[in-house]
Symmetry: C2
Subunit: 218 residues, 2 copies
C-alpha cells in the first residue's frame, strides 16, 4: 500500500486516488520525465529531468556541474511529479469537460550515488528500459565517463497516485442536447527509427518496440 500521510492524502478528487504501488511503478516507467522542484531565494524552480526506476527507487543523472543536481545531492527536500495525459472528456456542456490522466507525486530527498559500479548498473537499467537489449550492442561507459556522471537516487517511500478515467458526466437536463459527447484519446507512439547520417548501411536495424505500447509504423 502506498503511504497515506497528511501530505500524500488526496483531498480534491479523492475517488481518483490509487493505493497500489504497482500503479505508481507503471506511471513512473511510462513517464520517462519527472518534474522536480527545488526552492530558491526567489521562489520554487521546476526542472524536467529524465527519470527511471529500479526496484523501489527512482534515479536521475546529469553532469556534475548541473545546478539542480548540486542542490539535490545535499539532501534538499524535493517533490517529483510524473504525468501521463490520456485524452479529453468532451461533455455536452462546457462546464463538464475534463481530462483522462495518470499522475504520481513523490516526496523525499535524493542521495548521491558515488560508487561507479552502482552508477553503471543503474544507468544500464535505464538503457535497457528504453531500448531492450541495447546494453549488449553499445560501448558501455568507462570509469572516466562514470566519474563525470552524477547519479542521484530517491526511495519511493512517500507518494500519491491519481488516475482520472471517468466517462462523460453531464447534467441530466443536458442529455437531450444534439451534441456529440465522448472521449478524444491521446496516445504516445514511437518510431520508425531514423539512422544518423554517418551510419554504416550494413548495420541491421534493431527493434526496441517491445518496450512500448504503440508504434507509429507497421
Amino acid at each position: 500500500m502506498l503511504s497515506n500521510t497528511t501530505r500524500t492524502q488526496i483531498k480534491k478528487g479523492s475517488h481518483k486516488a490509487v493505493f497500489d504501488p504497482q500503479a505508481l511503478y507503471d506511471i513512473i516507467d511510462e513517464s520517462l520525465i519527472a518534474h522536480i522542484a527545488i526552492e530558491e531565494d526567489r521562489g520554487p524552480v521546476v526542472i524536467p529531468m529524465l527519470a527511471w526506476r529500479v526496484d523501489n527507487k527512482v534515479y536521475i543523472h546529469g553532469a556534475k556541474n548541473s545546478r539542480l543536481l548540486r542542490t539535490l545531492k545535499t539532501g534538499h527536500k524535493t517533490c517529483l511529479t510524473f504525468t501521463l495525459f490520456d485524452g479529453w472528456v468532451l461533455a455536452r456542456s462546457a462546464f463538464h469537460h475534463s481530462a483522462h490522466y495518470r499522475s504520481a507525486v513523490v516526496f523525499g530527498q535524493f542521495e548521491n550515488i558515488k560508487d561507479n559500479h552502482e552508477k553503471d548498473r543503474v544507468l544500464n537499467h535505464f538503457i535497457e528500459h528504453i531500448a531492450p537489449g541495447r546494453t549488449e550492442e553499445v560501448r558501455l561507459s568507462n570509469n572516466k565517463e562514470l566519474t563525470a556522471t552524477q547519479v542521484l537516487a530517491i526511495e519511493l517511500n512517500e507518494a500519491s497516485v491519481k488516475i482520472g478515467r471517468h466517462c462523460v458526466n453531464d447534467d441530466k437536463e443536458d442529455l437531450d442536447l444534439q451534441t456529440w459527447a465522448g472521449i478524444l484519446p491521446y496516445r504516445t507512439v514511437i518510431g520508425p527509427l531514423e539512422p544518423c547520417d554517418d551510419l554504416d548501411s550494413s548495420i541491421n536495424l534493431p527493434d526496441y518496440s517491445r518496450a512500448y505500447k504503440h508504434r507509429w509504423y507497421k
Copy 2:
C-alpha cells in the same frame, strides 16, 4: 525576445536556449499540462494542471476549494514548466545517449480572474484550442458554473525555452563500432473519438483533428 534575467539564463546546455517568444507559445500550446510548484512548510510540491494560453498569458482553472489554486491566487511566487518529449538519441556508446525534447520554464505570480465574462471568454478559448468549433456545439457555462470555477492567469514575462534536437554525437574512436545509432522518435497522436454509452446514435461524429499534428486513425 524572451527575457534573459539571471534566473532564466540557461547555463547548462546554453546552445539549446531559444529566445523567440513564438517558440515559447508553441511549446505551451502543444503541452496542455503545466507542472506548477508551490512551497509548503515541508518543502516544495509540484502539481500537474491543465494550462492554456491566450495572447501573452497562461491560464489554469479548477474548483474554488483546490489547495493549489487557493495558494496561487494570493500571489505566491511560482514556477510553471512545460515539457514535450520527442525521442531518444541512441548513440554507439552508453555515455552519449540523450533525448530530444522541448521545454519552457515560466516564473511569476498568478492573478485571480473575478469577472465571469472574462472567465467565460478564456475558458471558451481553451475548448476551441482542444476541439476547434466545439463552443458552437456545447451548452456554454451559466453564471452559477462560472462563479464556481476559479480561473487564474499568469503573464509570460519571465521565461526560458530549451530545445534539444541534435543528432548522435559519438566519440571519434567509437564511429567504427558495428552498433546501430540514430533517433527513436516519439509522437503524440489523437483519436479515434469514442462516443459515450448514452449518446444518441443520430448525432454526427465531429472532426477536431485539425488542431493536432498526428492522428491515430486514417
